[in-house]
Every structure is written in structure tokens, then in C-alpha cells.
């Protein structure tokens, strides 16, 4: 068997359910015996590490867990069962908007919370207008003229092309709006 670490000293970090004293002793002897590893110390933390928020470039596709903190649960939402056309606007400062249609070029949707478009976003969308920065914009086809979340505007490629899968826009760690493939909430 190939043992590249043989003879080295290691430290074990343990998270999650704590190990008992005898289990740790067993682990220590097993590592020495089977892999010739000397255990220098064992770090036990019972706090799960937070999921890192990925500040991925728009082309980078990673499944993401959307931070569903803040007031999302307590917010009302409104359903718009039609396409919003050029010159038309839909405002819902109290909460989130769900649109069963497209938001066309020249149209505008503004919501206090999230904006979920079960169609194409070709116009302007402004989520989190009251400052909830965890607000997101999701569209089956995300090809907007302008995106705004809270007071963060745009910052995505002007010539964003239709990708053929749903995408989500939100504020990433680097304080810019990032757009990624939408996998799940």
C-alpha cells in the first residue's frame, strides 16, 4: 500500500458529534499502527462551520444554498399571473413578487423581497428595495437590462446571453451582484 504521509505528524480536527475519550484513543493507535502517523493533537469543535458564500464569476456554476435568513419567511408575496410588457411596472414593497410570465424589455418589477420570474427577465428588476440584501432575483431565462438588489446596481455583463437554464442573481461576498445557475433554494 502506498503511504505518502508515513512517519509524519498530524493534527485531527473533529466537528459534529463529539467523540468519547476511548474512541479518540482507538483512532490514535489505529493511525499509528496502520499508517505510521503520529497524532500531535486533537481539536474538537462542536460548532458547525458556516457554509461559505461563493462569490463565483457568472460563468462558474456551483450549486448554492441561498441564505434564507432575515425576514423572508414573514414576508407576504404577491403572484402576478401574466407577462409584464414594455411600459408596465409591478411594485410590491411589502414582500416578494412571483411572476407567471415574462418581464419584457422596457418593463420594470420592484419588490421589497425576492423576485421570482417563471419566465424570461428581459427588462429591469429591483429586489430588496427596502434594504434586505439577502433578496434574490430568479428567472427561468435571465437576460435583463438592469438588475438591482438593495442599492447594488447592475454589475453583470451587459450582453448576458440566454443560457437555457434558470439563473439566480444575488449579492456575493465581494459586494457585487453575482449570477449563477439556479439549482435549489
Amino acid at each position: 500500500m502506498n503511504r505518502p504521509l508515513s512517519g509524519t505528524t498530524v493534527q485531527i480536527d473533529v466537528k459534529g458529534p463529539t467523540l468519547e475519550e476511548d474512541e479518540l484513543a482507538y483512532l490514535r493507535s489505529k493511525l499509528k499502527e496502520s499508517y505510521n502517523l503520529t497524532v500531535r493533537g486533537i481539536m474538537v469543535s462542536d460548532e458547525p462551520t458556516p457554509e461559505p458564500i461563493a462569490a463565483a464569476p457568472t460563468t462558474h456554476i456551483i450549486p448554492q444554498a441561498v441564505n434564507s435568513s432575515d425576514s423572508r419567511e414573514s414576508e407576504p408575496s404577491r403572484i402576478i399571473p401574466y407577462t409584464i410588457r414594455s411600459g408596465q411596472t409591478e411594485d410590491f414593497p411589502q414582500g416578494s413578487l412571483i411572476i407567471y410570465g415574462d418581464v419584457n424589455s422596457g418593463a420594470e418589477v420592484v419588490a421589497g423581497g425576492d423576485i421570482v420570474i417563471l419566465g424570461a427577465l428581459r427588462g429591469n428588476a429591483h429586489a430588496g428595495m427596502n434594504g434586505r440584501l439577502s433578496s434574490v432575483i430568479i428567472a427561468m431565462d435571465l437576460v435583463p437590462l438592469q438588475l438591482q438588489i438593495g442599492n447594488y446596481l447592475n454589475r453583470l455583463p451587459i450582453d448576458q446571453k440566454s443560457r437555457g437554464y434558470p439563473e439566480i442573481a444575488r449579492i456575493g461576498t465581494e459586494d457585487v451582484i453575482i449570477v449563477e445557475k439556479f439549482v435549489k433554494f
Binding site: R85, S86, G87, Q88, N104, S105, G106, A120
Partner: protein, 264 residues
């Protein structure tokens, strides 16, 4: 009881007047009684496209002002039975007419004709409200470019708000070559954005200019692609099921043919 159909677009110069003249003539050629109403007060040109400009005596303004009977203001097109024109006043402007007055005219015309086609001016203001005031249905004309499409979208929203339906689409000045080389939006994308039914596609046709200058609608011209397209659209308006030929498939069709010949 006839149908009142407004021909409109939002953006100017996309072919509303050309479409109104050709569809009106085509419907008359199919045996329907048709009156064309020019609602472009102050900038009329439906009379020119129809070659009737020298015969206009009264206009819709005169009818509204009770200077003449509605039936007397209708100019008969002598080339085909059943086609007449109600011209717009050239010396007035759009604010001189109220939507209710246009609606009253359309309601009267509807009772004596199979089709009343109203040629709308560009824009979304009074001229458009006048033109659409009496309409049951709408034909939205667009060209395959983003600004015309956005304006068409705007107009569709206003028509829906006014509960005018169905709203059908005529895609004008379509060029298979430009779609083929990727520099023009194809019809599927236009329909995807506007989300209304496609009534027909009229190709870019240089014959339109000569036809306008001579006052002879394209549908009279044998072998004119544009004229045939308008003829097909007219048949669809009368309820006939006529497939829309896929203009952009022509290139594809030839390339498949070439491929077979090369192989064989």
C-alpha cells in the same frame, strides 16, 4: 355584423399603412365588403398607397362635424368590388377627434361591412386611442428589430388593457438572408417575446416602394412575394387555415438539397 380591426404598431414606419391597404384589397378580392379607415389625422397617406388621393372630397372630420353623411364620405375603389376608404382630414390634428366619435363611426360602418380596418398612426397617444376606440380586434405590425419589438410589446399591453382581443401579429420586412447569417432576429424569438399569435410574415420586398408610388397595392401584382404574403394573411383573417411558410427554411432546404447532391 362586421368586425372592426385596428392595424397598429407603436413604432412608426413599420408598415401599418402598407398592411392596411394590402389586406383591405385582398379581403375585397376574396369577396368581402371592406372599408378602410385612415385614423392618421394630419399625416394621412392611406389614400396615396391606394391611389385614391385625387378622389377624396370628404373626411371623417366632416362626418363628425356633420358636414356630410357617413356613406357620402366613403370613396369607392373602382378596381375591386366592395372596397371603400374613409379618409382622414389632413388639415386637422389628432386632438380634434374624440375616441367616442371614432367609436361611433366604426360602429356604424360595422353594420354595413364585413370588415372595418383602421390604419392607426404611430405612437401611444390620442391618435392610437382614437384608432383603437371602436376596435374589436387588433393586428400589430412589427419589423424584426429590437426597438420595433419593444414598441409592439408596449402597444400589446395597452390593447390588452383596453380588452381588445384577439391581438394578432404581422411580422413585416422579414429577410431570410439576414436571419440566416445571424444579423436578424428570427420569427420564433419575436413570438417568444411578444407572446401573441402570428398571423403572417411579409418578406422585405422592394416592390413595396414602386407599388406605393403608383398607388397599386402589391396584392394586384402576380408573382409578388409581398403580395402573396398579404393574400395568405387575408385568407387567415377570413378563417381559412393556411400554413405560414417558413421563409427562413428556404436556405436550410437548399443546403439539405446540396448535401444530397454532393453525396449522390
Amino acid at each position: 355584423m362586421g368586425k372592426v380591426i385596428v392595424v397598429t404598431s407603436g413604432k412608426g414606419g413599420v408598415g401599418k399603412t402598407t398592411s392596411t391597404a394590402n389586406l383591405g384589397t385582398a379581403l375585397a378580392l376574396l369577396g368581402k365588403t371592406v372599408v378602410l379607415v385612415d385614423a392618421d389625422v394630419g399625416l394621412r397617406n392611406l389614400d396615396i398607397v391606394l391611389g385614391l388621393e385625387s378622389r377624396i372630397v370628404y373626411t371623417s372630420m366632416d362626418v363628425i362635424d356633420k358636414q356630410c353623411e357617413l356613406s357620402k364620405a366613403l370613396v369607392r375603389d373602382r378596381r375591386v368590388d366592395g372596397l371603400t376608404l374613409l379618409a382622414a382630414s389632413q388639415k386637422n390634428n389628432k386632438d380634434d377627434i374624440q375616441p367616442a366619435q371614432m367609436k361611433a363611426i366604426c360602429d356604424k360602418l360595422r353594420s354595413t361591412h364585413d370588415f372595418v380596418l383602421v390604419d392607426s398612426p404611430a405612437g401611444i397617444e390620442r391618435g392610437f386611442s382614437n384608432a383603437s376606440a371602436g376596435a374589436d380586434e387588433a393586428i400589430v405590425v412589427t419589423t424584426p428589430d429590437v426597438s420595433a419589438i419593444r414598441d409592439a410589446d408596449r402597444i400589446i399591453g395597452l390593447l390588452q388593457h383596453a380588452r381588445i382581443e384577439p391581438i394578432n401579429l404581422v411580422l413585416n420586412r422579414f429577410s431570410p438572408e439576414l436571419v440566416g447569417n445571424g444579423s436578424m432576429i428570427d420569427q420564433e424569438d419575436v413570438i417568444d417575446i411578444l407572446n401573441i399569435d402570428l398571423l403572417g410574415i411579409v418578406p422585405e420586398d422592394t416592390g413595396v416602394i414602386t407599388s406605393t408610388n403608383r398607388g397599386i397595392p402589391l396584392v394586384y401584382e402576380e408573382g409578388s412575394e409581398g403580395g402573396q404574403a398579404y393574400m395568405r394573411i387575408a385568407r387567415r383573417i377570413t378563417g381559412q387555415q393556411i400554413p405560414i411558410p417558413a421563409f427562413d427554411q428556404k436556405g436550410l432546404f437548399t443546403s439539405i438539397m446540396n448535401w444530397f447532391t454532393r453525396k449522390g
